[in-house]
């Protein structure tokens, strides 16, 4: 076949494919346009998952009648004049591809009136070709209706999901922008029903409530205002990190509820997500991910948004600087605020009639465990979100723009928040939990999780001073490592030695174990080692040295810690609690499960009807 230039309609379709993948992409482009146009109210309407119809109406600046057609020409934009502008870009769009791409694959109806003109203009395009143009009365702003998405690309249409799924993607887009622009009013209508509405009050709190619901939003922690460039190296750029993150007790099964905005642009970045996840290091259960909305304000010159046509990826000039700033900010607030989960008895205290209390909860019927930041104060005074507090200035970027000094909340690090009070052992329940009394009421401590935490911190403390001390065995023990784990074991010999397991390859799957970590006088070194290796094999650890070392340490602690179901005497329990008291982070085990639950005197009194 001879080489030939593709006909324009085919080229347009191919190009459109990059920008428009699914109905949600159309919504994204149109909403971004509306935001760039300065609209304060944005209504999105979809039918049949957006395939039948997508309508975005805004009250933005509109397009003058004379420029309306040009808007649908490829690479036509008002947002950019010269190449230099590209590095200063503050608008969401700039490529001039959105409208032509949408027009190439849909039937578009376009009604707009610039706020400087008295009459609006109405356009209708099919497959990018203008079929009708007339002057019409219209409110200031733009109403774009894109119908019959992919009508001319059956292949794409085939790959669309069920309408409900596509509607879900669209809702995700709209909610993301709600979080990025809390001062704008958003409304989403799906098949004639309003499914999402944001008040546009300018308060991040209201946006969070609209997106996550009151319960979740109330728990979210405000990031401290910080993280400006530290100025140690001149090339580092000014940046500000703000937003809200969930406490460690709030977690999800995937990273979807971790949202990042760079200069108001929603982006997806695995490294950033990982940085935040690392901030929750050891505080979250394995395989769970934090919740958070993090906005990064950075000099546009220090970030390249022109990476992909869909613009949900960016490149930072100094990625590590950005990641560590984010991580520091999150870590600070998370470590401060990670409290002992408190038992709350649900108000509907008649479990026999309250069927919802049983709804899929694995915990006791009407017990809910929530997190309260501090043991010493009533749960609600310390919450980051004071829902009824009037705010003078709109908080579009909390922490970044409005000064936080007027907040009646403390965000200064308070060391004692982590420390345990002195606890007196009362007894043991189910051979698994230690009941202890403290000045603030009753504490239920998971003996395994607590011991794990203690061992972990002891290991880490020793690690700080060099290799961990090891106790040599009288006779080296012969260990047969299952074939699947041999490679991993060989690779990890050095790390294991650092932890106190001196393992010597002895040919094939046979190894000689010469020493054990001195901290762990385990009676069955071989099974301990095999358990650790097996667990890590399931976990599929990375090859990164530090991570693997941390994973190994956690696994060793987990295996060596007292198990649930082991009877402990009072002296052992006291010793355990004493050690726990001296831990830096006694509240969670290294895998992020809580080590203890607190039931305050006040709660006890309430439950017994004394108050």
């Amino acid at each position: 076949m001879p080489i030939q230039v593709l006909p324009p309609d085919l080229a347009a379709k191919i190009a459109a494919g990059e920008v428009i993948e699914r109905p949600a992409s159309v919504v994204k482009e149109l909403v971004e346009n509306a935001l760039d146009a300065g609209a304060t109210t944005i209504n999105v309407e979809i039918r049949e998952g957006g395939q039948r119809l997508i309508r975005v109406a805004d009250n933005g600046c509109g397009i003058p009648a004379a420029e309306a057609e040009i808007a649908f020409a490829r690479h036509a934009t008002s947002k950019l004049q010269s190449v230099d502008d590209l590095s200063r870009i503050r608008t969401l769009g700039f490529r001039g591809e959105a409208l032509p791409s949408i027009a190439a694959v849909t039937h578009i109806t376009f009604l707009t009136r610039s706020n400087t003109e008295s009459a609006g203009i109405y356009l209708r395009l099919e497959a990018g070709e203008l079929v009708s143009r007339e002057s019409r009365g219209a409110p200031a702003g733009t109403i774009i209706t894109a119908e019959h998405l992919f009508y001319n690309i059956p292949a794409r249409r085939k790959f669309l999901r069920r309408p409900a799924t596509e509607a879900g993607y669209i809702q995700e887009i709209v909610t993301r922008y709600t979080l990025a622009y809390p001062e704008r009013r958003f409304r989403l209508e799906v098949d004639g029903r309003i499914t999402f509405q944001a008040p546009g009050t300018g308060k991040m709190e209201d946006a969070l409530i609209a997106v996550y619901g009151v319960d979740t939003a109330r728990q979210m922690l405000l990031l401290p205002q910080a993280a400006a460039a530290e100025g140690d190296t001149p090339e580092q750029v000014e940046l500000e990190v703000a937003g809200f993150v969930g406490p460690p007790s709030l977690h999800r099964a995937n990273r979807k509820d971790l949202t990042f905005f760079v200069n108001h642009r929603w982006i997806q970045d695995r490294s950033l997500a990982f940085a935040v996840q690392e901030a929750y290091h050891t505080l979250l259960p394995v395989g769970r991910y934090p919740v958070g909305v993090i906005t990064i304000s950075i000099d546009p010159a220090a970030v390249d948004v022109n990476v992909h046509p869909s613009k949900n990826e960016v490149r930072f000039l100094a990625p590590h600087h950005v990641f560590s700033a984010v991580q520091r900010a999150v870590r600070r607030v998370v470590v401060e605020e990670s409290g002992i989960p408190q038992i709350t008895f649900s108000p509907a205290s008649d479990p026999w009639h309250d069927t919802t209390a049983f709804g899929g909860h694995s915990r006791a019927a009407n017990l809910r465990v929530s997190s309260a930041p501090s043991a010493s104060q009533p749960a609600y005074t310390r919450l980051a979100l004071d829902l009824h507090r009037p705010l003078d200035s709109p908080l579009s970027l909390p922490g970044a723009e409005s000064a936080q000094s007027d907040l009646p909340l403390q965000f200064e690090p308070h060391e004692e928040a982590q420390k345990l009070p002195f606890l007196r052992v009362v007894g043991q329940v189910s051979k698994s939990y230690i009941i202890a009394e403290g000045p603030e009421g009753m504490y239920m401590i998971d003996q395994h999780a607590a011991h794990e935490r203690i061992l972990y911190e002891q290991f880490m403390a020793q690690r700080g001073h060099g290799p961990v001390a090891s106790q040599a065995l009288l006779e080296p023990v012969v260990v047969h490592i299952p074939p699947a784990q041999v490679e991993f074991a060989v690779e990890s010999v050095e790390i294991l030695a650092g932890l106190g397991f001196h393992l010597e390859p002895f040919g094939g799957d046979t190894f000689l174990l010469r020493t054990l970590p001195a901290l762990i006088q385990h009676s069955q070194p071989v099974s301990l080692l095999l358990d650790v290796l097996q667990e890590l094999e399931e976990e599929r650890p990375t090859t990164v040295h530090q991570e693997r070392e941390a994973a190994l340490t956690r696994a060793v602690c987990k295996r060596a810690a007292v198990k649930a179901g082991q009877t402990l005497n009072v002296a052992e329990m006291s010793a355990l609690i004493q050690h726990l008291e001296s831990c830096a982070q006694p509240r969670t085990c290294p895998h992020g499960r809580p080590t203890m639950i607190h039931l305050s005197n006040g709660q006890l009194e309430r439950e017994f009807g004394r108050r």
Binding site: A461, Q462, G464, H465, G466, P467, A469, S470, Q471, A472, L473, L474, E475, H502, T515, A518, L519, Q521, S523, Q524, P525
Partner: protein, 382 residues
């Protein structure tokens, strides 16, 4: 059953057999003590199915019979009675034992003696006879080195090996090993040669044996039952029966170092004291105690410096005079393992033989090769 005996005899007998009672057993009868008339005496028995103890107490038997009664209640009650004659009378229909001592009287409900597991008692001539003092010392010097948890059952036992002339006790927990030997008399008190023996006895049983044999003067006979699964220690008026641990004991001779680079002789008590002090600091540092051994010159004696450092607590140094032959060495041990051995060396001076910081250290009392204790060092890179 109707018998009378003296309070102090009964109280003592109860305290001896009480050591074998299983306090929280799923089998209720194991929390009881069996009282049984036996050839004009009262026989007390208790067992936890691992070890069993029989004890005979002098008594006036008026009517034969047997019953089991709760151990704790009976012991505590008898112990608080005045020192006088106790009359016991069993009501066989209700299995209730009536006890009367002066103006104190009690009825204790029991369980039928038929339910009590039998404990072998009859021994006609032992296979080996041991002097109680020697046995006592051997038990003390060896049992502490046995493992305390059940994961490797063999290591919770003590290897008892005899070739007829020499008896050896060995115990190890995988980190240290304790070996104590003793020569046997050519012919024992019964005029019979001692027989060969190679069994593993639970350390717990030997510890109990050590406790109850404290005031014994007669040689103690040792018998392995024909089925080779039990050992019977026959003392005067007491028998202790224990299950044996089946299996093969680790080949311990290979572990004991044959030669050394440094031989250090120190005062046992001084070393014990130094290690005790160091252990206070070692508590928070994985129990690591460092011994720094320096040979002396013509004019100055050699020295041993004992050192413990805990990063967050502090550190401590003590120095002892020592006779050092060989080269300088620094070696680290677990404080607990050191304290264990130093507490059971009665000789005034102790010898420590070392090769290098990675090779085991060998302790034994100066002037005797009967007792050998080997500890694996700890490895710490600084």
């Amino acid at each position: 059953m109707k018998i009378s005996c003296l309070q102090e005899n009964l109280a003592k007998g109860l305290s001896i057999v009480g050591r074998a009672v299983a306090p929280r057993s799923t089998l209720p009868v194991l929390s009881n003590i069996l009282l049984e008339t036996d050839r004009g005496r009262l026989k007390l028995s208790a067992t936890n199915l691992e070890i069993g103890i029989n004890c005979w107490v002098g008594a006036k038997v008026l009517e034969e019979g047997a019953v089991t009664v709760p151990a704790r209640l009976l012991s505590d009650f008898v112990a608080s009675l005045p020192s006088d004659q106790i009359d016991m009378d069993l009501n066989p229909r209700t299995q209730t034992l009536n006890l009367r001592c002066l103006r104190y009287e009690a009825n204790i409900k029991g369980i039928d003696a038929q339910e009590f597991p039998p404990i072998p008692t009859s021994v006609d001539g032992g296979q080996m006879y041991l002097e109680p003092d020697t046995l006592h010392e051997m038990i003390n010097q060896v049992t502490f080195a046995a493992a305390t948890d059940e994961s490797r059952p063999i290591l919770t036992g003590v290897l008892v090996n005899s070739n007829g002339n020499r008896l050896t006790f060995v115990a190890t927990d995988g980190f240290r090993i304790s070996v104590r030997g003793s020569d046997l008399a050519q012919v024992n008190s019964q005029g019979q040669p001692n027989r060969e023996m190679n069994v593993i006895i639970p350390a717990r049983a030997l510890i109990e044996l050590g406790r109850i044999s404290g005031d014994q003067t007669e040689p103690i006979s040792v018998t392995i039952t024909e089925s080779r699964n039990q050992v019977i220690f026959q003392l005067s008026n007491i028998t202790l029966v224990s299950q044996l641990i089946e299996g093969t004991f680790p080949p311990y001779q290979q572990i004991i170092p044959k030669n050394s680079e440094t031989r250090t002789v120190v005062n046992t008590q001084e070393l014990l004291k130094g290690v005790k002090i160091a252990s206070l600091f070692a508590r928070d540092a994985a129990h690591i105690v460092r011994l720094q051994i320096k040979p002396g010159s013509d004019l100055t004696p050699g020295s041993m410096v004992i050192r413990a450092t805990a990063a967050e607590v502090g550190d401590n140094v003590s120095e002892l005079d020592a006779m050092v032959e060989g080269k300088e060495v620094e070696i680290a041990f677990n404080a607990k393992y050191l304290l264990d051995v130093l507490g059971v060396i009665s000789a005034e001076r102790t010898v420590l033989q070392t090769v290098n910081p990675l090779k085991p250290g060998l302790f034994n009392p100066l002037g005797s090769d009967d007792f050998i204790y080997v500890i694996m060092p700890m490895q710490v890179t600084r």
